[in-house]
Symmetry: C2
Subunit: 152 residues, 2 copies
DNA sequence: ATTTATGCAAATCGTTTGCAAACCT
DNA sequence: AGGTTTGCAAACGATTTGCATAAAT
């Protein structure tokens, strides 16, 4: 349930730096702050949550920086039926492939993982299906929808 | 790739009728039209697509009716990173459990299924994980993100 | 007749954008 | 300097809502 970083904060910064550079973008103070917040929190955050965690950030800049960070492959945007988008570090940055538990009552989103064996089985099954359709898979998304512990 | 209805149009109408009734809602002309369009098309439709398919429908009424139909369990709303929500018939109405291929380029959404064996394996693995977290599963959602045939 | 659904137009609200000042190198 | 980023305020656009009319029972 913690972020369980398999990547050190320093490595993370360096990798974020690199990825931004490869898209001709700078790793500015505000962007650092965002990466730091997302890293520390270790779960998908909404805009209000980000602004609360970084009170000096201007909302418009956060939106703009999240777009940049997403294009650089540092951040991933998650859309649910909830009113807000959520943002988390790209999973190949944290080395932590996972999925989401989405509460249909309060909108909360948590991470979870499935056993490696199931994951790889699923992965190959999906690839077969996609190929048959001429679909080029970039990633998959597996969410569980239901009621979280708090919402009973 | 077709809708492959395992449920006849008549059965569908009757069931929609029933479900609406159980939430104290009527099966009005406009709602019939929506169900008919979704049934005929057999894939998730956006608001513009719905309005094009039913030129006499008022946009606000469509939005309102989709809410009602969703509450009655007749329709399911799908949110992607695309600008529009999409709507399809609830899968327990069509008897056709499926997932989605989401094109990250054009936003198009197609249905696909995975082998029953994989599906049930996944299902039990998910249930175990959820239980450990005190999470009550209502449904799962498995999307493949990538480039569709047309977008190469 | 009374309740509910409809359609138009206006309001909402998360997100995006224009622009001038601040920042970086 | 020369370019980018920032923050404020205004704009956008998908969805929602108020209200008067039309259906439905």
């Amino acid at each position: 349930m913690s972020a369980a970083p398999t990547v050190s904060p320093a490595d993370l910064e360096r990798e974020a730096q690199t990825r931004l550079g490869s898209v001709d973008q700078r790793f500015t103070r505000n962007r650092r702050t965002l990466v730091e917040i997302l890293s520390r929190t270790g779960r998908p955050l909404t805009m209000p949550e980000l602004l609360e965690a970084g009170p000096d950030l201007a909302q418009s800049s956060v939106y703009r920086n999240l777009v940049v960070l997403e294009q650089a492959g540092v951040v991933r945007r998650i859309v649910t039926n909830d009113e807000f988008s959520r943002y988390e570090l790209a999973e190949d940055l944290t080395g932590h492939h996972h999925h989401h538990l989405v509460c249909t009552s309060c909108g909360a989103v948590e991470d979870f993982t499935v056993p490696e064996k199931i994951e790889s089985l699923l992965d190959s099954a999906l690839r077969v299906t996609a190929d048959q359709r001429g679909f080029t898979v970039e990633s998959h998304r597996l969410d569980l929808l239901g009621r979280c512990d708090a919402c009973g």
